[in-house]
């Protein structure tokens, strides 16, 4: 694994962390940590884009980020998963990933900020 793909993985980790922060942060220091995680996600993804095919990068980032957030929700915060919910979330993830995958470089100009 090269440094760029590694950045994407670490960015995904920070993405899940700031999502947890947005929901559960209660003190000033926790909010600051959340904001730092948001900033790090941006920085790492911008760095990864320098060398990686952007459509694929975002596809993987979105997929892992969404599934990771839901897993954390279920494992650590006791969120219930109904079958119908899992079904729709899977369709949604497939939709977002597919969209990012078929987005050509020409279309990427617009996608630059999507994190």
């Amino acid at each position: 694994m090269n440094i760029y793909w590694f950045s994407v993985l670490i960015a995904t980790l920070f993405e899940v962390l700031w999502v947890i922060g947005l929901k559960y942060a209660s003190s000033i220091s926790e909010w600051i940590a959340t904001i730092i995680c948001i900033a790090l996600t941006f920085v790492l993804m911008i760095f990864a884009q320098k060398k990686l095919p952007i459509g694929t990068t975002y596809t993987i980032f979105t997929g892992i980020g969404t599934i990771g957030t839901i897993l954390v929700d279920v494992i650590f915060f006791g969120e219930e998963l109904k079958a119908i919910k899992v079904f729709f979330i899977l369709i949604l993830i497939l939709g977002v990933m597919g969209l990012k995958l078929v987005t050509t470089n020409n279309d990427i100009e617009l996608e630059k900020g999507k994190l």
Binding site: I84, K85, L92, G95, K100, L110
Partner: protein, 104 residues
């Protein structure tokens, strides 16, 4: 109310992306301000929606609205390709968001 705020978060995200696009053609302090405004609002609304809605579900929907919204914006405003695959994926996102709302 929380669902409405969640949709607002997604729309703010799309606004932020549109402003980034604008900035590429029209540099300036106002442009940077509008980008920051869009994304700040997006995080603010997302955080508010998460206070009452489940975290994973809320995040998934926010990502979906952002992705589908950016694609629709691209097709309508910037003449991006509107091939069948893209339209299908956008529809998948919209249908699943509606499905999640109804089954919630």
């Amino acid at each position: 109310m929380d669902w409405f705020v969640l949709v607002l978060a997604g729309c703010s995200e799309v606004f932020g992306i549109a402003m980034m696009n604008r900035y590429k053609h029209k540099k300036g302090f106002l442009g940077i301000l509008l980008i920051i405004l869009g994304f700040s609002l997006s995080f603010f609304f997302l955080s508010y929606a998460m206070r009452t809605l489940p975290m994973g579900l809320t995040y998934a929907i926010w990502t979906g609205i952002g992705g589908a919204g950016a694609a629709i914006l691209g097709i309508v405003l910037y003449g991006e390709s509107k091939d069948l695959k893209r339209i299908c994926f956008i529809m998948m996102i919209i249908i699943s968001v509606i499905g999640l709302k109804i089954s919630a």
